[in-house]
């Protein structure tokens, strides 16, 4: 499936989250998100607060900042993964997908995650499943797809993840038999199989070598023509290579992560408005 297959239509903010089976039709110009005054807690401890930003459709938004600034916590708030962990994790504020609050009263977090996929820091393919089954795991575990649909999905998603040529002859091999970089692309293919509106990536290259990293970055630039991507990275060069817009997070003395600066990547790296941003990107701390 390519972009050219996307049927144009008009975006309507009042329309409910579109039906997934209709996802190829999509919303013209892609899907956008808006974060409004989000704060996240681990039990009683506040980890991030007062975060607001708009994530543009069909673009890559990078979140950068030093360790412990709440980057990962923030991105996990965007598909309601933050509340999954044990303990009393919670989120306040609202996060809109195409104008609809994913924290709305009647919204099921499971449903949110079908539309907002996530790729994790460490490649985590299901070790007991084959490459084929890994790609379609999400489909198989949420409905009863036909064999044809599965075959098509596997080829389409592995192609989109730039992995098809490397694994097409060993689809029945275990997902764990692949290299780290291949595993991470497999995880991306697995997310794409759900036809998400937004793809979240939490430091997807931090466990990979430079060549594998380069492949993933190329892939991100390819995928953003069709998907809205948010990527957390501790690598500023990576942010400058892949991101259209970049957000800089920083935690102060009280260890609560806040959004310091948000804007077009070029501007943030060449002409930051906040002195703390400048200090960080010039390597004076963090």
């Amino acid at each position: 499936m390519t972009m050219s297959e996307q049927v144009p239509g008009t975006h309507n903010a009042t329309q409910p989250v579109p039906d997934r089976n209709n996802a190829t039709t999509g919303t013209a110009g892609g899907h956008w998100m808006q974060v409004r005054d989000v704060a996240a807690y681990y039990g009683d401890r506040m980890a991030i607060s007062e975060i607001s930003m708009t994530i543009k459709p069909r673009s890559t938004t990078a979140i950068i900042g030093p360790s412990g600034c709440g980057k990962s916590t923030f991105i996990r708030c965007l598909n309601r993964m933050h509340e999954v962990g044990l303990g009393n994790n919670r989120v306040t504020g609202s996060v809109l997908l195409d104008g609809h609050d994913i924290y709305g009263r009647s919204i099921d977090p499971v449903q949110v995650r079908r539309y907002i996929g996530m790729v994790f820091q460490r490649p985590n393919p299901f070790p007991s499943m084959s490459i084929y089954d890994n790609v379609v795991a999400g489909i198989k575990l949420t409905r009863s797809p036909s064999r044809t649909e599965l075959d098509e999905t596997v080829e389409r998603c592995l192609n989109q993840a730039a992995l098809w040529d490397e694994v097409k002859d060993k689809l029945k091999a275990s997902g764990a038999s692949l290299s780290g970089g291949q595993q991470q692309r497999l995880c991306i293919a697995r997310s794409l199989a759900m036809q998400p509106h937004v793809l979240l990536m939490d430091e997807p290259c931090s466990a990979l070598d430079p060549i594998a990293t380069y492949k993933i970055e190329t892939l991100i630039n390819e995928l953003k023509r069709q998907y809205t991507i948010v990527i957390v990275t501790h690598n500023m060069q990576q942010a400058s290579r892949v991101a259209d817009e970049t957000a800089f997070f920083l935690a102060g003395e009280e260890r609560i992560g806040k959004l310091v600066e948000f804007g077009p990547t070029n501007q943030l790296f060449t002409n930051p408005t906040d002195p703390r941003t400048e200090a960080y990107i010039t390597g004076r701390f963090g």
Binding site: M81, V84, R114, Y115, F120, N124, F126, L141, T142
Partner: protein, 298 residues
């Protein structure tokens, strides 16, 4: 001191790697401790082989085809076997597993996947308490409840219930422990695909822990299979074949006990034979479970 040849450096007169007294002391210490734990390991394992060997030596003379196919005969008559006890034990164990496995499995899954905070602590504590209750007390409890009242007489179902009570805490603890070993990242991966939690547990977590869970179940069934005290108070034992769960049913441990406390040498041999059969039944069950999970992790 090695020849340094044309190098512009001289070898130091004393090797910096030469062993000194403290090094030798540490080395001795290490060897000594390694020796101690090796002895401990050997003692632990040899107990198993001593028991097994002795049971085989004493029990083998009692083993013949009749022992597996005939019912027990009164003292003085030659031959006979413990067949009703073997079928009885298998039946009671099957029914006990039918009750205990779902409850224990469900409870273990709840503790590992769903329970939060103090609820988990309370359940875990209660489960440990049940595990610590002497089996004869379980027998007395089931006797008072089922034998005296609900069923009204000694019965196979009462024995199965008491064995299930003994199984449950073992299953709960092993299932919980095995599930907690499944990496959290796997659950995360599935949840992030929009898979409902119950489906994640059934299709991702449980298959990953299958081998460990089966091992736990077998351990629990084996443990229950050897229990004698609660069965004496609940199923009573039976010299004849019976498949009626509402009537007394034979069981190998009870038969073993009856033979062992009798004053006849022939019955003592049969008691050893019964012990050998009991160990074998449990060994076969364990082996089957191992084969079923062959080649899988853990």
């Amino acid at each position: 001191m090695a020849d340094t040849g044309t190098l512009p450096y001289k070898a130091s007169p004393v090797s910096p790697l030469a062993p000194d007294r403290r090094y030798l002391a540490r080395k001795f210490h290490g060897r000594f401790m390694a020796g101690l734990i090796t002895v401990a390991a050997l003692v632990g394992v040899s107990v198993l082989w001593l028991i097994l060997g002795y049971v085989i030596v004493r029990g083998a003379p009692a083993i013949n085809l009749d022992f597996f196919t005939q019912r027990p005969l009164p003292y003085g008559e030659v031959g006979g076997g413990i067949a009703p006890s073997i079928t009885g034990t298998l039946l009671i164990l099957a029914v006990a597993a039918l009750i205990g496995v779902p409850v224990g499995l469900g409870c273990g899954i709840y503790l590992a996947e769903y329970g939060r905070g103090s609820v988990v602590e309370v359940i875990r504590f209660c489960s440990d308490l049940v595990a610590g209750v002497p089996s004869i007390v379980v027998g007395v409890f089931v006797w008072a409840l089922l034998v005296r009242h609900v069923v009204g007489n000694f019965s196979g179902i009462a024995g199965a219930v008491s064995l299930a009570i003994i199984m449950i805490p073992i299953i709960v603890r092993t299932v919980e422990a095995v599930l907690l070993l499944v990496p959290y990242t796997l659950r995360e991966a599935a949840l992030a695909l929009g898979v409902p939690k119950w489906r994640v547990v059934i299709s991702v977590v449980l298959p990953s822990a299958k081998a460990g869970i089966i091992t736990g179940l077998v351990l629990a069934i084996a443990r229950a299979g050897g229990e004698t005290a609660p069965l004496l108070l609940t199923t009573l034992g039976n010299q004849f074949f019976s498949w009626n769960l509402l009537e007394p049913i034979g069981a190998i441990p009870i038969q073993l006990y009856n033979y062992a406390v009798a004053p006849y040498p022939d019955w003592h041999t049969k008691a050893w034979g019964a012990a050998l059969v009991l160990i074998s039944v449990i060994g076969v069950l364990s082996t089957l479970a191992r084969v079923a999970t062959w080649g899988q992790s853990r």
